[in-house]
Symmetry: C2
Subunit: 330 residues, 2 copies
């Protein structure tokens, strides 16, 4: 398995990103191509020991920063790690490409270089959410912030294929994120999407209210990329705020409460592992003609390692072949 890694992508790049790539090469035996500013990569690699034949470096002198405008930066920085990585993937130099960099730029470069799969009008990012029940894929979380109902139907078909072939779910349940259960609720966009999904061959369960997402009663939840991004980020923000609040409160507590908290650490560790985004690695960019995995900007070494693993799984399970088959059957 040959994976390309955007060595410059992520808030903790290049060190953490490279460390994650090295770890994936060592642990899983993948061949990892690191793309980015060569001198920096070589310097970061020096602190690691790894089988030399499993890692190579491709120089890309430019870097697209996290907050640069997506389309413009992709057009101007042809020698950036994101654009170069996408071109090498297109050429078949590796089987999948992973980036924790500027999401908009990754989506834009992927669409331009790789093109879309037949039957797909817009790419979508599918993120696996941990829930009380089974994991659930939410599509889209930011690739397409102003979609048409048809795009949501296509996301539904792609999410269905992903759930079946990667997550081994039979007849995946597809839901539509809406602020009420009834089909009469929501914006015109949501109502039209509901109608289109109802008429499709998908196992469409109707509207899923935001408070139910974490119950895990659906395998795939569809929404526009703006709302999906809010869903993802507000959860992260709240979880972070709640844990800070807990730590702040424990600091103020007496010895007994502090001691109790110390004893409770094992339970919290299990929970953290269950809901930690880093465990799930990256999110597939569905709909482009190639395997592209978008990792969280805040990815640490473990998150990058897992994103590389997710990329390999996408390739092994031939996600795109199944997506195309499923789209054609509609």
């Amino acid at each position: 398995m040959r994976i390309g890694l955007d060595a410059m992508g992520g808030d903790k790049a290049p060190e953490c990103t490279i460390a994650g790539g090295v770890e994936a090469a060592k642990q899983y035996g993948y061949h990892v191509t690191m793309i980015g500013v060569e001198a920096q990569i070589r310097k970061s690699l020096r602190v690691h020991s790894y089988p030399a034949q499993n890692i190579n470096v491709v120089d890309a002198a430019e870097t697209i920063e996290m907050h640069e405008p997506a389309a413009l930066s992709v057009r101007k920085k042809r020698n950036s790690s994101i654009v170069r990585g996408m071109e090498l993937l297109k050429k078949g130099e590796f089987d999948a490409f992973v980036s924790a960099g500027n999401t908009g730029a990754v989506v834009c470069a992927a669409t331009l270089s790789l093109r879309l799969l037949p039957g797909v009008d817009r790419p979508g990012i599918g993120v696996i959410f941990p829930t009380l029940n089974k994991p659930c894929m939410v599509i889209d979380v930011g690739a397409n912030i102003d979609p048409k109902p048809l795009h949501l139907l296509q996301y539904g078909i792609m999410g269905d294929a992903y759930s079946k072939h990667v997550l081994n779910k039979e007849n995946p349940i597809v839901g539509l994120l809406n602020i009420g259960e009834e089909s009469s609720k929501g914006t015109e966009f949501v109502k039209e999407s509901h109608m289109m999904l109802s008429e499709s061959k998908l196992n469409f369960v109707g509207n899923i209210e935001p408070k139910e997402v974490y119950h895990g009663n659906a395998d795939v939840v569809l929404c526009d990329g703006f709302v999906g991004n809010v869903l993802l980020k507000v959860t992260e923000g709240f979880a972070d705020a709640a844990s800070r609040l807990l730590r702040r409160e424990l600091k103020r507590s007496n010895f007994i409460t502090k001691f109790g908290a110390f004893l409770t650490i094992p339970a919290f560790k299990v929970i953290k592992k269950k809901i930690d985004a880093a465990e799930y690695g990256g999110a597939p960019l569905l709909g482009v003609d190639g395997s592209v995995i978008i990792a969280h900007g805040a990815s640490d070494e473990k998150a990058i390692k897992n994103a590389v693993r997710v990329a390999a799984e996408n390739v092994e399970h031939k996600v795109n072949t199944h997506v195309v088959e499923e789209l054609q059957s509609y």
Copy 2:
């Protein structure tokens, strides 16, 4: 202070709703008018002891259920607790009206009966979010799911007035919920809203990312009602799922971890109180010509009691007078 209470509103109505109203009458000395099916209210009241002169009952034979279509039910059920309550508020029978019932119906009945304040084109629901810093009001969380940028500007002006006069904040910081910091981010609606808010006299800080809402760096956060509802409900859903996960994990834990959790209870109680929606009571329906407070559908006795208190505070602080003054100065 005279408060009207929709005795039939809320998942736990009429018992809990009535208990909350009685508690507010006893604790704060308000006069509470309970509106709903008289026989049921009288029966529920029997289990309480309270000063008789502080509570009266108005019969409304019909009830709008939680999931009925808003506009239709308001038009058809003229003798429902929501429609009757709004008419009595309009007539001046009490100073404010509180309902934990069908939100859409409350918004619709309020708009039809009370009309909008001069300078307001759409009402908005403002919910107080607890944060790591100061509390923050998010407008709108569901009254207006497809607003225009002008509506967001009006929400900003109303939120500013509310923060100044009810929450005693000087020069409140107003932010716009968006999926990126830069003004170039987001949908056309969000970008236009950003421009309009930038040109206003508000203390506009620009975009607030979803992960930052709980940091509490803004006093007022503006968004469309669909996104605001997702923001509110997904937080509740996640908090609920996380606490269930914790309990499930503790059940499986060994004695030491369980004992630790027992010792930690005081810290969790403080946090629960800080983030418990019930503590904040209800959300003002801003922009209608009357004081209307929307309580959470899942309100328990304490939440209703606090919603009644919030209603009284709205009246005492002359929220609408200040809103109109502020709107006129623009």
